[in-house]
C-alpha cells in the first residue's frame, strides 16, 4: 500500500482519479498487444494534477488561444494522455480501445493533426521543450498569459537537444514554461544509471538557470504544491523533478524496464486489473470512513 497522506478532500479526489485513470489505461491496453506500460503508469499522478488541478483546460477550451498547454515530450507515454483526454471528454468514450489500430485517431505516438487535445508532435525524444519554448515566445509576442507544461522522461535527458532548449528557456526568461521530469529511473533497455547516468538532476537544471523543486511524483499534494510555484515568476523557469516508479500500481511491472514496451498475457492482465481495482476500492472505502 502506498503511503497515505492526510489531505483535503480535493487531494483525495485527485488521487482516486489517478487510480481510475490507471484502470482505464490497463483496460485500454488489455492483453496480447505490446504497449508502453511502464512510462505510462509512472506519470499518471503528474498528468492528473496538471489536467484536473492546475491547467486552464477543458473540452470547451480545447481551441482557446489562451488555454494552458501540455506538451508530452516523452511521447511514448501518450496512452496516459489519451486516458486523461477521454476523462475530460475531449475524446469520446469508447475511442480508447481503438488505440494503434489502422485508421485510428489514437496513434502510437502523439499526432497533432489526427488527435484532438494533442498540442505537439513528439515521439522522437528530446524535442518537446524546444517546441514549448516556441509556444512561449509566441505567447510573449501576442501578450498572452497562458502557461506551458512539458513532461520529460529521465532517460530522455540523454538527448542533447533538451539542454539546448533548457538554455533557451532560461536565457529568454520564459517563466511561463514549466518542466516536469518523470524520473522513473528506467529506460528502454535498462536502468538509466547503468546505461548513461543523468544525475545530479536538480544540479543540472539549476546550473542551466532553472528553479528546481523535487517531489514524490505519486503524491498529489506535493505535485500540486510544486505546480503552484509556476505562478511565482521568479525570473527563472521552473523544473519539477518527480521521483516516480516505473510501472506504478502493478506489482510485477514496478521498477522494471521489462514492461517498457511489451504485451501482457491474459493472466497478467487480470492480475494488473485486480491490483488496481483493489487500490480504487480501498480509497473509496477510506472516504466512506470519514
Amino acid at each position: 500500500m502506498p503511503r497515505r497522506k492526510v489531505g483535503t478532500r480535493m487531494f483525495e479526489r485527485l488521487e482516486l482519479k489517478a487510480w481510475e485513470a490507471r484502470l482505464e489505461l490497463i483496460r485500454m491496453f488489455s492483453y496480447g498487444k505490446a504497449h508502453h506500460f511502464g512510462g505510462s503508469l509512472s506519470c499518471v499522478e503528474l498528468l492528473t494534477c496538471l489536467y484536473f488541478y492546475k491547467m486552464r483546460y477543458s473540452a470547451l477550451l480545447r481551441d482557446d488561444p489562451d488555454r494552458d498547454r501540455f506538451i508530452l515530450s516523452k511521447g511514448h507515454s501518450v496512452p496516459a494522455q489519451y486516458v486523461i483526454l477521454s476523462m475530460l471528454g475531449v475524446l469520446p468514450e469508447g475511442e480508447l480501445r481503438t488505440i494503434k489500430q489502422l485508421g485510428s485517431r489514437l496513434q502510437g505516438h502523439p499526432d497533432v493533426n489526427k488527435t484532438p487535445g494533442i498540442e505537439a508532435p513528439t515521439g522522437s525524444l528530446g524535442q518537446g521543450l524546444s517546441f514549448a519554448n516556441g509556444v512561449a515566445l509566441a505567447a510573449r509576442l501576442d501578450s498572452r498569459q497562458f502557461r506551458i507544461f512539458v513532461l520529460l522522461g529521465d532517460g530522455e535527458l540523454q538527448e542533447g537537444q533538451v539542454w539546448e532548449a533548457a538554455m533557451t528557456s532560461a536565457h529568454h526568461r520564459l517563466t511561463n514554461v514549466c518542466v516536469l521530469v518523470d524520473s522513473n529511473r528506467f529506460q528502454s533497455q535498462g536502468s538509466v544509471g547503468e546505461i548513461k547516468g543523468v544525475q545530479p538532476l536538480a544540479g543540472k537544471w539549476a546550473a542551466f538557470g532553472w528553479e528546481v523543486l523535487e517531489v514524490d511524483g505519486h503524491d498529489v499534494a506535493q505535485i500540486c504544491g510544486a505546480l503552484d510555484r509556476v505562478d511565482d515568476r521568479s525570473g527563472r523557469p521552473l523544473a519539477i523533478i518527480a521521483s516516480t516508479v516505473k510501472g506504478k500500481g502493478v506489482s510485477f511491472m514496478e521498477n522494471s524496464f521489462k514492461y517498457h514496451n511489451r504485451a501482457l498475457s491474459e493472466q497478467e492482465y487480470r492480475q494488473a486489473e485486480q491490483e488496481i481495482l483493489e487500490q480504487i476500492s480501498s480509497r473509496k472505502h477510506g472516504h466512506a470512513g470519514h
Binding site: 497533432v112 508532435p121 522522437s124 516556441g134 509556444v135 509566441a138 533557451t168
Partner: protein
C-alpha cells in the same frame, strides 16, 4: 535594385518587407543572422528576430512551437547545417505535421567558396525533396528570389528555400512570372534542352548562346521549384528535344537531375524519350577556393556546360553510326 546581387541579400530585404506588413512573420537564426541576412528583419521589429545561438535542432523545434500559435516562421542557417544537423527535427516537427515554417538554407552549394567541404551543402535538396508535404524552391537570381520568398510566405505549409551567396548579375526581369511548381521557359530551341535550377541558370543561358553559335539550337528552362515538380514542362521538353541536360549546383544524386529522370521515365508520352545527361557535382564533396574557381572546376560555368553538351552530342553521333 542593384544589378549584382546575391540571392541571400534579396531574401533578407524581402523578409524584412513582409515582416513590416504582417506581424505574424518571425525569423529565427543560429548565430549567422548577418550572413543569412535574416537579421534584416530586426530593423523592422527586434522582438521578431530571435537568435537561438548555435543550436540548429533547438531552432527547428522552437519554430514548430511558434508556428503552432499561428506565426509564420522563417528559420535560417547555412543550408548544410539546417538540413543536415536538424534533419530529424524537420522530419518530425515540420514536415510530418505540415507546420507553417519556411526553412531558409543559406550559402548553399560550392559557391560558398573559401569555407570548404564542411560548409558547402551539396545534398540539401536531396534531403528536403524526400520529405512528404515539403515544397522545395531554388531561386536563380535576386528578382526571382523576391517572388519565391513571397510565394513561400503565402504557402500554408513547410517550404525549403535554397539561397546562395554567389555574386551574380540579376538576369531575370524584375517582374518575372513566378508560380510555385511551374518551370519558367527562358529560351526555346529544338535540339538541346538545358534544364537548370538556381544561380547557375545564368551560366546555362550563356552556354545556350555559345551552343547556338556552334549551330546547336538550344532551349533553356528554369526549374525553380524542385517539388512539386513540373511534369507538364518535362513532358513538353521530352516531346521537343532529343537531348536534355539538367544543370545544378548540387549533387547529381537526388537533385534536379534525379527529379527530371524520375519524371521522364514515367511519362507515357512521347514513346521515344530524350536522352538525359546530368550536369552538377558528380557525387563528390567540395573544397576551398573561390566560387568562380569551383564553378569552373565542376564544369558549371558557360564553358564547362557548352563543353559537356558538345561532348555528349558527339558521343550520340558515334552510337548512332
Amino acid at each position: 535594385m542593384p544589378d549584382i546581387e546575391e540571392t541571400r541579400e534579396r531574401y533578407g530585404r524581402t523578409l524584412a518587407r513582409l515582416a513590416g506588413q504582417d506581424r505574424r512573420v518571425v525569423a529565427l537564426d543560429c548565430d549567422l543572422g548577418r550572413s543569412t541576412k535574416s537579421h534584416d528583419l530586426s530593423e523592422v521589429d527586434p522582438r521578431r528576430f530571435i537568435d537561438l545561438g548555435i543550436a540548429e535542432q533547438d531552432m527547428i523545434s522552437t519554430a514548430a512551437g511558434l508556428a503552432s500559435c499561428g506565426k509564420i516562421v522563417f528559420v535560417n542557417s547555412f543550408a548544410v547545417f539546417l538540413t543536415g544537423r536538424a534533419f530529424d527535427q524537420i522530419r518530425q516537427q515540420i514536415s510530418l505535421p505540415k507546420a507553417n515554417v519556411k526553412l531558409c538554407g543559406s550559402s548553399a552549394g560550392i559557391t560558398l567558396g573559401a569555407d570548404g567541404a564542411t560548409h558547402q551543402a551539396i545534398n540539401d535538396v536531396t534531403l528536403m525533396r524526400c520529405l512528404p508535404n515539403m515544397t522545395v524552391i531554388v531561386p536563380a537570381d535576386g528578382n526571382q528570389t523576391e517572388k519565391a520568398v513571397v510565394a513561400a510566405y503565402l504557402h500554408p505549409g513547410p517550404v525549403y528555400l535554397r539561397l546562395s551567396r554567389y555574386h551574380l548579375a540579376n538576369f531575370l526581369p524584375e517582374d518575372c512570372a513566378f508560380e510555385v511548381g511551374r518551370a519558367a521557359v527562358l529560351r526555346e530551341g529544338n535540339r538541346v534542352a538545358l534544364a537548370a535550377t538556381g544561380p547557375v541558370t545564368a551560366h546555362a543561358l550563356e552556354a545556350a548562346d555559345l551552343l547556338q553559335a556552334e549551330g546547336v539550337s538550344t532551349g533553356v528552362y528554369n526549374f525553380h521549384t524542385l517539388k512539386p515538380f513540373d511534369i507538364n514542362c518535362a513532358r513538353e521538353i521530352a516531346g521537343r528535344y532529343e537531348t536534355v541536360f539538367s544543370i545544378e549546383e548540387h549533387n547529381i544524386v537526388g537533385g534536379l537531375g534525379s527529379a527530371l529522370a524520375e519524371t521522364l521515365c514515367e511519362l507515357f508520352e512521347p514513346a521515344a524519350k530524350p536522352l538525359l545527361q546530368r550536369i552538377g557535382i558528380r557525387d563528390a564533396y567540395g573544397e576551398s577556393g573561390t566560387a568562380e574557381e569551383l564553378v569552373h572546376k565542376h564544369r558549371l560555368d558557360a564553358e564547362g556546360i557548352t563543353g559537356t553538351v558538345l561532348e555528349v552530342l558527339e558521343k550520340r553521333r558515334q552510337y548512332r553510326r
